[in-house]
Structure formats: structure tokens, C-alpha cells
């Protein structure tokens, strides 16, 4: 399935989950995701990641609601715990595959969703620069430590230095892109034209309709 379509479906369902107070629905979302993961053949580390990551925020909400909730708070505690899992397992369908599907996702954004190439390639650029940004933040802190100053998270100087790097880097990347012919607002050709299969639309619509039907009877 085209990753942008998949992303759209996932986002719509995730948005609905925010307003649905149902443990059952959350569990169904988790179960369906689990089945899809079985088909996708995840590595055991990815399974571990899916299982452990939501523990903290899930339990955090659960305990708070148990202790300090009002009304139907016990139910809500379970809703929140299952919801955190549902968000991550649902989202994982997109994010865990993103390494393989990144290029086609971005190409779809540009060619089919007609997002301005300026935004698409800004996104491409910063994605590729993420490891460098991580290193740069370490360097900023160490450079200051050499001067005997520790830049804490609440100090404006830390952010000022980070923004200074952002200013310099965005300038040189902009120059680099333009020197490779990038022209704002101009036509571009595409080596690979992205098409969205009719089947993708059918699957997306079926998935969304099925989810709505699930909500209809209020049987939870």
C-alpha cells in the first residue's frame, strides 16, 4: 500500500481513537495491528519495542486515573492504558516501515499530494541531517564545558547556539540546493512517477468504513 495512503488512514483512525472511550475498540486496533505485524515479519527487537515503550506513559495514566479519577474513572484508566498501546501499535505500521518506504512517501507527497517541493525537500534535508544535528548538540555543550560553562536545558544560551547552527546550516543547504538547480515554484520532472493503485484506494476506504461500522452499534 502506498505509504501516504496508509499514513492518512492511520491518522484518521488515531484521531478517532482520541475521542472513543472504549477498551474493546483499542484492543481490536491492537489485535489487527498485531496480525499485520505477523504478516510483516518483525524482528524480535521491534516486538520488544512495541511492547515496552508504552508501559511508562500507559501506567502513568492508569495509576493517576485510579487514584484521582472521578465518575467512570476505573473504566477510563483501562481506556488510557489500552489507548497508548493502540496509538503506538497503529503508528508502528507506518513508522516501522518508514526506512524502506521513505522515498516513496516523500515522492507521493510531492507528486500526488502536490505539496510544494520547497517543503518536501526541506523535510528530506533535515531527515538526512538528523545524525549531524545530534552530534552538533553534543558539540555545542562540550564546547561550552571547555569554557567552564554547562549549558542546561533552561539556559537561553543553549538554544541560542542551536539556533545559530540552524541559521548557518540552513543557509549553506539553501545555497547547495540552489547550486544544484533547485528553483522555488518551478516545474520539476520526476525519474519515477508515483501512481496510487486503485486497490490502495479500495483498501483504504474499506478499512475506514470497517472502523466506522465497528463504532456504530455502541456495543462496547
Amino acid at each position: 500500500m502506498n505509504p501516504l495512503m496508509k499514513f492518512g488512514v492511520i491518522m484518521i483512525i488515531a484521531l478517532e481513537l482520541t475521542f472513543i472511550k472504549s477498551v474493546t475498540i483499542n484492543l481490536i486496533v491492537i489485535a489487527v495491528s498485531a496480525v499485520l505485524y505477523l504478516i510483516l515479519h518483525l524482528r524480535w527487537r521491534q516486538w520488544l519495542w512495541l511492547c515496552l515503550l508504552p508501559v511508562l506513559p500507559g501506567l502513568g495514566s492508569w495509576f493517576s486515573l485510579m487514584y484521582f479519577g472521578t465518575g467512570d474513572h476505573v473504566h477510563m484508566a483501562w481506556v488510557m492504558l489500552s489507548r497508548v498501546y493502540a496509538y503506538l501499535w497503529l503508528g508502528g505500521l507506518f513508522t516501522l516501515k518508514l526506512n524502506d518506504e521513505r522515498d516513496i512517501f516523500l515522492a507521493t507527497l510531492e507528486q500526488r499530494a502536490h505539496l510544494s517541493p520547497t517543503f518536501v525537500y526541506a523535510l528530506v534535508g533535515v531527515l538526512n541531517f538528523m545524525p549531524a544535528v545530534n552530534q552538533q548538540i553534543k558539540t555545542i555543550r562540550v564546547a561550552a564545558q571547555m569554557r567552564g560553562m554547562t549549558l542546561h536545558i533552561w539556559e537561553p544560551q543553549l538554544y541560542f547556539k542551536a539556533i545559530l547552527s540552524a541559521i548557518r546550516w540552513s543557509q549553506s543547504l539553501a545555497e547547495g540546493m540552489v547550486s544544484h538547480g533547485f528553483t522555488e515554484g518551478a516545474q520539476r520532472t520526476h525519474l519515477e512517477a508515483v501512481t496510487i493503485k486503485r486497490l490502495d484506494w479500495v483498501i483504504a476506504i474499506i478499512a475506514l468504513i470497517a472502523f466506522q461500522l465497528l463504532l456504530l452499534p455502541h456495543w462496547y
Binding site: 515503550l53 511508562l56 502513568g60 465518575g71 538528523m130 540552513s170 533547485f182
Partner: protein, 193 residues
């Protein structure tokens, strides 16, 4: 040959969009580094049922990309975009909330942006910044009533959580952003034509 002046002046210049994206990524990473601190804090508070305080205490930090993007680019929509970029980074780094991070990013972006919007996008200094901190706290809190199940809390806890979030936004999204802006302007490192 075709010239640039023939075409209309672009609203979102390449350099601005790149700056906004880089600022978001840098801020995203700074707070990603803080992730373990949040986890420890949240874990310590969990058995007492006070974990949401960890979230509300740091929310202002996670939302900093929005007001910073606004004051740097000075354009309607910059805050929203900045926060979306930051949320995308957090999601890709493997944030605990998965895709819900992007939804929250959208809400947080709108929440912060609203503060500049109510001043008709005319004030990019402390008035605009504090206004965005206030709208940021109020609007995201309404969102939390739904997403985080806050609606089911005792009113006492709700008030305490809101105050925590408000203080966090006033500090990170207000005081700190004003201080950062002062440094940037004093250093004269940002060219604005």
C-alpha cells in the same frame, strides 16, 4: 532566459523553510536528550498516580519549536509548521506516543500559533510570545481532556495539572523564548530583508 523577478515573490522562501525545519529538529533533539529525565521523573511519580505532572511540567519545552519558529520567520503558519516538523522528528526517533505525536504536534502548533494570531500577527516580541504561551496552555489542555483522559480527573488534580502546564509554558514558551530572542537580536546573526 527566465528570471526570478518575472515570477511572483514567494511567500515561503526556501531559506526560511529550511531554517524553520532545522530549528525544529535542533529543539526536538535537545528535548529528546532530556527523554531519560522525563522517564525517570514519570516513573517515580507513577506509583503515586502523579505521572501526568511530568508531562505537564515539560510540555512547554516540547512546544518551544512553535514560538521560536514564529519569531524567527515572522509569518502566519510558521509556528504550526515548526511544531509539526518537531513532532515528526520525535515520532521518527521513536517517541512513546507513536502517530499520536503528530496529532499532538498539530494541536500544539495551532495552540501556539493562536497567540500570535489574536494579535493579528503584528507583534513578534514579548507580547506575542506570552500571548502564544497562554493560548498554548489553554488549547492543549482542552486537547488533553480528551486524549489523555484528563476529563475523568478530580477537579483538584485538574487545577493543579493546569497550573503546572501554565507555568511550564510561561517559562519555556515565554520567559525563555523572550531571552533567546534578545540574544539573537543582540548578536545580529539573523538577516531579515
Amino acid at each position: 532566459m527566465q528570471t526570478v523577478s518575472d515570477s511572483k515573490r514567494r511567500h515561503w522562501a526556501l531559506r526560511d523553510v529550511l531554517l524553520l525545519a532545522f530549528v525544529a529538529v535542533f529543539i526536538g533533539f535537545i528535548f529528546w536528550v532530556l527523554g531519560p529525565v522525563y522517564n525517570v521523573l514519570a516513573a517515580a511519580l507513577t506509583p503515586m498516580g502523579l505521572a501526568p505532572f511530568a508531562n505537564d511540567l515539560l510540555l512547554g519545552g516540547w512546544m518551544m519549536a512553535a514560538p521560536l519558529a514564529s519569531i524567527l520567520i515572522r509569518q502566519a503558519g510558521a509556528g504550526l509548521l515548526g511544531e509539526l516538523f518537531a513532532a515528526a522528528v520525535e515520532m521518527l526517533l521513536g517517541g512513546q506516543w507513536g502517530v499520536a505525536t503528530l496529532l499532538s504536534g498539530l494541536v500544539q502548533g495551532i495552540a501556539s500559533e493562536a497567540g500570535f494570531a489574536v494579535l493579528a500577527y503584528k507583534d513578534w516580541h514579548w507580547r506575542g510570545i506570552f500571548s502564544s504561551a497562554v493560548t498554548g496552555a489553554v488549547i492543549t489542555f482542552i486537547w488533553s481532556l480528551f486524549r489523555d483522559g484528563y476529563a475523568s480527573y478530580h477537579i483538584g488534580l485538574l487545577v493543579a495539572l493546569f497550573l503546572t502546564r501554565f507555568v511550564s509554558l510561561l517559562f519555556f514558551g515565554g520567559v525563555l523564548v523572550v531571552a533567546i530572542q534578545k540574544l539573537i537580536e543582540k548578536a545580529g546573526v539573523l538577516r531579515r530583508d
